[in-house]
Symmetry: C2
Subunit: 202 residues, 2 copies
DNA sequence: TGTTAAACAGACTGAACGGTCTGTTTGTAT
DNA sequence: ATACAAACAGACCGTTCAGTCTGTTTAACA
């Protein structure tokens, strides 16, 4: 048996993720990735069939981490029994973590992937859609419960999707202005608007 | 004097805009653009110094149209005297126009531009930031007036930015899922949350 | 300790890229 | 008519790209 290739594979993915988020997918070359990862062409094409396959693998890993964050915030607010209050607390989780998130990554991989037509039409975007639907299902369940309890009439699915929308929109706003603090501000706006919509006072 | 080059220049910009929004900037080649525009390399580099210069020109034109839409919606709601109600009506303008917007363009040029590092660091992103700030100023003025009248404590600038955030986030949501109807749904969510925040009843 | 197959290195290739250059067309002003 | 400069066409060039190919290294197991 040979040596463990997963370490090198991870290094390639790490380097590629940084480069793709910063420069875009098409603007990132395989040579750049292997240079940054300190490896070779042979290693790269041993682990990935093609550059598009790298994009898919990159997205797969990113989606898993993304869904991990969803579950983390859900568990962190499990103690809050009232669903409306929990929904607000859920958003507050990310608001509190916003600065940390933005220092770890200046933008989001999803934006780079969804920009590239090749990745959208080869099924990589479907992985992102799966993440979106997972977030939607969990959050909409909270919102539906809150709406039932409080007799509110609202589109739970669309409201749930607005969390994703706020994240991605705020990433773009931060990227354009060069001000990462927009993420925190936008999550705060979302939380306060959500609280107002669900009738939760601050 | 020679013939009018602005027609050809516009055709190049039109073709480039479609291709860049659909495929991304780096993934769009100059040859593709001139083929689609039915012109030549000579014409292209007569009108634009480089591919990056095309990106800048593309963004300049797009920003002008974007600010045009802002002004259109402001004028269309000029009759509404109450600032809070006008802010809600302003969002409703775009909600009503959502399907039309999405059939004209499946995504937003800003996303493609902000994905590309070269365009962010060469100043093209600053043009987008100018659009963002123009929207912010106009909308925040409405919100501040509404907040004053109704004694509300809220971050008018961040709330105003959330319109941009919702647009861009919804573009990405639509792009990933392949469902343009998300734009309308997200603008509806924004309108209803904004109404709840400002104390405007539907 | 020799065998084996995965892991890796790096020179190489053909195609595609952005950009250049030379020459031709176009319309207007004289 | 002719001069002229902007508008345009397309062959061409050096570079970079994704991907290939040949050979070497690595570590578990017989």
């Amino acid at each position: 048996m040979p040596k463990d290739g997963s370490i090198n594979r991870s290094r390639i993915l790490d380097a590629a993720q940084r480069l793709v988020i910063e420069n875009g997918f098409a603007a990132t070359s395989v040579d750049q990735v292997i240079r940054e990862a300190g490896t070779s062409k042979g290693a790269f094409f041993h682990h990935f069939d093609s550059k598009l396959d790298l994009g898919r693998a990159l997205t797969e890993r990113y989606v898993a981490a993304d869904i991990g964050q969803l579950h983390w915030a859900m568990e962190a607010t499990a103690e809050v029994t009232d669903p409306a209050e929990r929904a607000v607390a859920f958003v507050r989780c990310f608001e509190d973590a916003a600065d940390e998130i933005m220092s770890a990554q200046s933008s989001c991989l999803y934006i780079a992937v969804l920009t590239e037509r090749q990745l959208v039409s080869n099924g990589t975007a479907d992985l992102i859609t799966h993440a979106i639907e997972t977030w939607r299902a969990d959050i909409a369940a909270l919102i539906r419960a809150a709406a039932d309890e409080r007799g509110l009439d609202l589109d739970a699915d669309a409201l749930a999707d607005h969390v994703f929308v706020t994240f991605e929109g705020a990433f773009l706003l931060s990227r354009s202005t060069g001000k990462p603090e927009h993420m925190r501000a936008q999550l705060r706006v979302l939380r306060r608007m959500l609280a107002a919509s669900l009738g939760v006072e601050d």
